[in-house]
């Protein structure tokens, strides 16, 4: 909050400092504004299409607002209409329930983000603050995983999960990601290194063990970096497609991205079910917008934080 007000006051002084309106500045703002339009307008068009009746797609495909706005596309992809209604509205008649996929996506990304952050914080803490033989070697080993590209572990990990009988279970879907990821260990370690020794020493004198120090002293102090890593992991898992496609295709574990791909392929005619696809797509954007509204500043700042190491 404090940081926020500081930035705001800086803007006012900057703007007050040079008020002159030059042609160059107008052009610069125009370019920025058009970049913003180019960024956001496609999303507007997504919603606009989702609110258009499928029957109108041919006759009404250019106006900024649909001629006959309707919620039917959202209702049918959420599985809230009867099969007949869904088919009448342009659906394939296959059972879809995006509400469930939305929930699966929340479970998938929630599990990965929370557990990965916790376990990486534990590992980062150990290599940053605890004294034990082989510490640097352990850190080196964990960081070496950075060199392994995801495609390389993908095939063997799939075979492993398959052999464990974990296909189409959340356990199999999250297993490779929950225990550690090298970047998070590296990033959190950097932060833990900067915590003053005295903080821990005071706790040691009070008879608190290593776990107590970590859980009750260090973690609360590290809320910023933890949220940063948690947020980026959530976004990453939310966007994930290939791994959940391979390991969680079934209805019970199908996440939004996979559901969208399958839904697109189930289109009834030669022409894809665009109004339905856009309604489903809009649902995959909705949580992102909520995240942005609630944590926009945090998200933007975390990017500055993790992006440039």
């Amino acid at each position: 909050m404090k940081a926020g007000s500081r930035t705001r006051s800086r803007i006012t002084t900057r703007a007050g400092g040079r008020r002159k309106i030059s042609p160059g500045r107008i052009i610069a703002w125009a370019v920025l504004a058009s970049a913003l339009v180019a960024t956001l307008f496609p999303f507007y068009w997504m919603i606009r299409t989702a609110l258009t009746p499928a029957a109108d797609l041919y006759s009404d495909s250019t106006g900024l607002v649909p001629d006959h706005p309707t919620m039917i596309n959202f209702l049918r992809v959420l599985g809230l209409t009867s099969r007949e209604e869904a088919v009448a509205a342009g659906g394939s008649g296959a059972q879809v329930d995006f509400l469930r996929y939305l929930l699966n996506s929340v479970v998938y990304s929630g599990l990965i983000a929370s557990l990965q952050t916790l376990f990486c914080a534990m590992a980062g803490y150990a290599v940053a603050r605890l004294r034990f033989p082989g510490r640097d070697a352990v850190f080196g080993v964990l960081i070496a995983a950075l060199m392994v590209p995801p495609i390389f572990t993908l095939l063997p990990n799939f075979v492993l999960v398959k052999n464990l009988g974990w296909l189409n279970t959340f356990a199999g879907m999250v297993a490779p990601s929950v225990l550690m990821t090298p970047f998070a260990v590296f990033f959190l370690r950097q932060f833990f290194l900067s915590i003053p020794r005295e903080v821990e020493e005071a706790a040691v004198l009070d008879g608190v063990g290593a776990w107590g120090i970590f859980w009750r002293v260090v973690l609360p102090m590290s809320r910023g970096p933890l949220i940063t890593i948690g947020l980026t992991t959530t976004v990453w898992a939310w966007k994930d497609y290939l791994w959940p496609l391979l390991t969680g295709r079934d209805e019970e574990t199908r996440v939004l991205t996979v559901a969208l791909g399958i839904f697109q392929q189930q289109s009834p005619n030669t022409q894809p079910d665009w109004t339905g696809i856009m309604a489903g797509s809009a649902l995959s954007v909705l949580p992102v917008l909520v995240l942005l509204l609630l944590l926009g500043r945090r998200l933007v700042e975390s990017l500055n934080f993790t992006g440039i190491k």
Partner: protein, 317 residues
């Protein structure tokens, strides 16, 4: 690991207060830490062993076999690699990937640099930055579907506009010549805002007074960009470039929902080729060999990245 845990006494076992105070403090720390450290590290080390180290070895092994996921693998030596040399689809995949990377990174970086420079000189608005971030927050699958719709040959908005301008309609994803540039442009659209914010963050580290004194000397915006921003941003720019380069080599999602490698292999990038070989043809061994090659390629890029990481650190210090 077992030995280490055995050395340490139970943490709160004795119950004698004098027990602890008698020991020198450092020694006590060290003994406690050893046990705690391995417990703290256990999940991460298990994750590393099971899902990084073991699959890496497994992947190399598979690449030397004829594994098809149905029968146990047979060792075939370097056969898969020998086959790769004569595999036109493999070379095509490499070529297609390279052209994607060049088109995507080129347009994305240039646009992002422009956006970042404009933001840097005009505004610090967090709201603006948050809005530019939206496409990056959205799954690539959604991005692919959205642009498939916008660029649809019959009903897409873009073709309606082109048609109204008298330019006729184009099947962007269905034309062998246009499919790859289209996908490169779509992904540039999705990632430009994100890249711009990374570069913008780098620009914020450039001391403001440099611009102020340059401005007093009568330098124009272009001159300041050319003489101050670009040179001082160079390490960050290089880092961002390599990171997005590595990312763009691994393009998959967008292609999987839009062109599926087509038309006639025009968008069958290496990642998609691996996917097809492994999960459509069940050539797991062969797919692993292609993955090894891609991993080596990415390994070189990562090494470059590491070097730049070090370079950028010393540059900014």
């Amino acid at each position: 690991m077992g030995a280490n845990t055995a050395v340490a006494p139970p943490h709160k076992g004795t119950g004698l207060p004098g027990d602890r105070a008698d020991e020198p403090k450092r020694a006590r720390d060290r003994r406690d830490d050893r046990k705690a450290a391995w417990l703290f590290l256990a999940p991460a080390l298990a994750g590393f062993a099971l899902f990084y180290a073991y699959p890496t070895l497994r992947g190399v092994y598979y690449s030397l076999t004829d594994y098809n996921m149905l029968a146990p693998p047979n060792f075939v030596g370097g056969e898969n690699y020998a086959d790769l040399i004569g595999d036109e689809q493999f070379w095509n995949a490499l070529k297609v990937t390279a052209s994607y990377v060049v088109l995507n990174i080129g347009s994305q970086t240039a646009l992002a640099l422009l956006l970042a420079a404009l933001m840097h000189r005009l505004t610090r608005s967090v709201a603006l930055r948050a809005m530019l971030l939206v496409p990056w927050l959205v799954p690539n699958v959604t991005v692919g579907l959205l642009w498939m719709w916008l660029l649809d040959a019959n009903l897409g908005l873009v073709n309606h506009i082109l048609d109204a301008l008298g330019l006729g309609t184009t099947g962007f994803f269905t034309s062998p010549d246009l499919a790859m540039p289209t996908i490169a442009a779509v992904n540039a659209w999705a990632y430009t805002g994100y890249t711009a914010l990374l570069l913008y963050a780098g620009m914020l580290q450039i001391p403001q007074h440099l611009y102020e004194s340059a401005s007093l000397d009568g330098a124009g915006e272009w001159r300041m960009f050319h003489r101050i921003t670009l040179p001082l941003l160079r390490p960050v720019l290089a880092l961002v470039l390599v990171v997005s380069l590595i990312g763009s080599f691994q393009i998959f999602d967008t292609i999987a929902v839009t062109t599926k490698g087509g038309p006639v292999g025009a968008t069958r990038v290496i990642y998609y080729y691996i996917y097809e070989q492994a999960f459509a043809q069940f050539h797991m061994g062969y797919a692993s060999a292609v993955a090894v090659i891609l991993a080596l390629l990415l390994g070189v890029l990562t090494a470059v990245q590491m070097r730049l990481l070090r370079a950028s650190r010393s540059d900014l210090a």
